[in-house]
């Protein structure tokens, strides 16, 4: 495994938790995002994820660097799965270790927020009577701040 990766096989969250653990870490937070059956009253049959893989892995790596700079002493690993996922399967895993628990919670939540705004991954919901690429078409995100 790589600490920041896009994969096509089922994710094993424990591998990422193990990766971030060190003797000085007192806390590990592990977030897993799962395929939900019901969203806004519509029943999902399964999801299909697509990514711009090299850029997505680069952005995940950058999010990890941001975290290690904002919360010194943390270590992070992030993986996103693409392809077809069934209900309950894991789409994303975020593992953060830290000497103290507060940083591990904050950094983990920061990671998922950043993923949702900046990492080029797209979700298509497949229902009984149709499909839709998910994404907020209404607002244009600010791209000015994205360059390093």
């Amino acid at each position: 495994m790589k600490p920041y990766e896009i994969v096509t096989e089922p994710l094993d969250p424990q591998r990422y938790a193990d990766y971030v653990l060190r003797p000085e870490a007192g806390a590990v937070t592990l977030f897993t995002g799962h395929v939900r059956e019901w969203t806004r009253g519509i029943r999902t049959l399964y999801l299909a994820y697509e990514a711009y893989v090299p850029m997505a892995e680069k952005m995940l790596t950058r999010i990890g660097e941001e975290i290690e700079s904002k919360w010194p002493g943390t270590r992070t690993a992030i993986a996103h799965r693409i392809g077809e996922l069934r209900i309950g399967e894991i789409a994303v895993v975020i593992a953060v270790s830290s000497p103290h628990r507060k940083d591990a919670y904050e950094a983990n939540e920061y990671a998922i927020e950043r993923i949702k705004e900046a990492v080029p991954v797209w979700k298509k919901e497949i229902w009984e009577d149709g499909t839709e690429w998910i994404g907020d078409q209404r607002k244009k995100p600010d791209t000015q701040g994205e360059k390093p």
Binding site: E50, Y52, I115, A118, V121, W122, K124, Q137, E146
Partner: protein, 77 residues
């Protein structure tokens, strides 16, 4: 020449994942306009452009060999 990449709904709407275009020296804003003329019904309002895997402001200028990806609103996680 530069390489254009299309993802997700844009890939399905254009019917292609990538194409070459002679847009050397053009800005990102001009690239988006070019795509909009070529595929009139594409929803481009919320699309960002990445040049060589980095988000780029609309003023950035394209150079020979660049890879320009049209990034529709992301929905990972």
């Amino acid at each position: 020449m530069i390489t254009l990449l299309y993802f997700a709904g844009l890939r399905e709407a254009t019917g292609r994942a990538q194409e070459e275009a002679d847009l050397d020296g053009k800005t990102v804003a001009e690239l988006i306009a070019w795509v909009g003329e070529r595929y009139p019904h594409l929803p481009l309002e919320a699309v960002r452009v990445a040049i060589n895997e980095e988000y780029a402001p609309e003023s950035d200028v394209l150079q020979e060999g660049d890879i320009a990806a049209l990034i529709p609103p992301v929905s990972g996680g």
